[in-house]
Symmetry: C2
Subunit: 253 residues, 2 copies
Amino acid sequence: MTAPELPDTAADLLRRLQARGAVRDFRPDPVPEAWLDALLAAGQRAPTSSNLQACSVIVVRDAQLREQLATLASNQRHVVDCPVFLVFCADLSRVALACEAQGAAMDDTLELGLVASIDAALVAMTLAAAAETMGLASVFIGALRNHPGDVARLLGLPQRAFAAFGLCLGWPRTPPVPKPRLPRAAFVHEDRYDSSASEAALADYDRQLALHYRARGKETTDDSWSRTTGRKFSVGRRRALRAELAALGLKME
Amino acid sequence: MTAPELPDTAADLLRRLQARGAVRDFRPDPVPEAWLDALLAAGQRAPTSSNLQACSVIVVRDAQLREQLATLASNQRHVVDCPVFLVFCADLSRVALACEAQGAAMDDTLELGLVASIDAALVAMTLAAAAETMGLASVFIGALRNHPGDVARLLGLPQRAFAAFGLCLGWPRTPPVPKPRLPRAAFVHEDRYDSSASEAALADYDRQLALHYRARGKETTDDSWSRTTGRKFSVGRRRALRAELAALGLKME
């Protein structure tokens, strides 16, 4: 059976999503304010668990603030240079207010911490997907989690909120070259998770990614996903996060 | 200055995102397999922190499995009745394998738990946004986190993975009526978070949401966001999550 033809918008969006990749080098041209407004409005319509809307967005325009955030985020220059820099906060401060209005304290659970982080991601991805259809490109800045306390102070966040990640947005200087993804067998499963394919999939992926880097003249000893990942995540990366978030009122117990 | 006109795809996507809302009542018509394949492929292209790709998706077709998952998820019948039911796993099992290949154990941090949960949300939102452009509707099922251990056993998840949420997908029987969102002043901030507007924004929103429910004949004592939220999240909802995830190999320390 042939599937019905896709609507134009769907076909175009799918094509753009397939071609997308992280962009860190932007043309200086500004993003029209009306377009940014439309993107923020679309982001606010993202689905949200229990209608909590546990995300707030900060549009960072101040040059000095951008410099300070870039420094905290492993000196990523695109945080300063991109036309639009947004910070997505996992924000439970309004939930806390609602609880206080009931004469109670917000129950500071891991559940709520995850809900707020997922809400932030849903808002950001809605916005980033819509941006792709405008011809804009983006890169997520997870390194804002290097120093959540300092970032919260710089941005004047209320208690019960933290900067989950940033997003640089603008016109790409050159189109991104999408990185290969894991073999589909590792990503999609039917009814039950099939672990048996995982090791072969990773070996296959290591080869594919090495070819990708080689084709781009980026041959390094770090070209294997398994090696890079294994080294990076067995050594206690951002171990202070838990304590720093607790100090911001998010113990996530 | 007038902003340049939006590309057609952008205008159409923004319109659809503004009109979207959770849909729980689907027509029985199937989603073409080729469309589902395209959605899963688009989801796999979502941005991912450090290229970790810490998300796996399970397409649940088995009727008995659907029944069992629906029961665990507060008896939500649409988990059984929807044409497509997907489970998005925050999946660090491949990262753990990569660490083991380096002769080390994965450092089980809150950071990695958040990365995986955010990755799952980025994949799901990419897929859900693309689905809207096909005329499909969806609802996220956070209640899979009611009993993460049972869900993991039913789906045969490996250690270091949990079902972050599900997604019901299909053709809406009737178009959703989008719920009002918080006043923009509470959601978007410029340079620094402005807490001063929060209480007024919540009072305003409580009125708006009450009007929305009244217009839909849903006048209840629960029509206030502040009251509902304050009651629901000061009483220890999903308190077992932390211990249950730890048992699945995700201590998130």
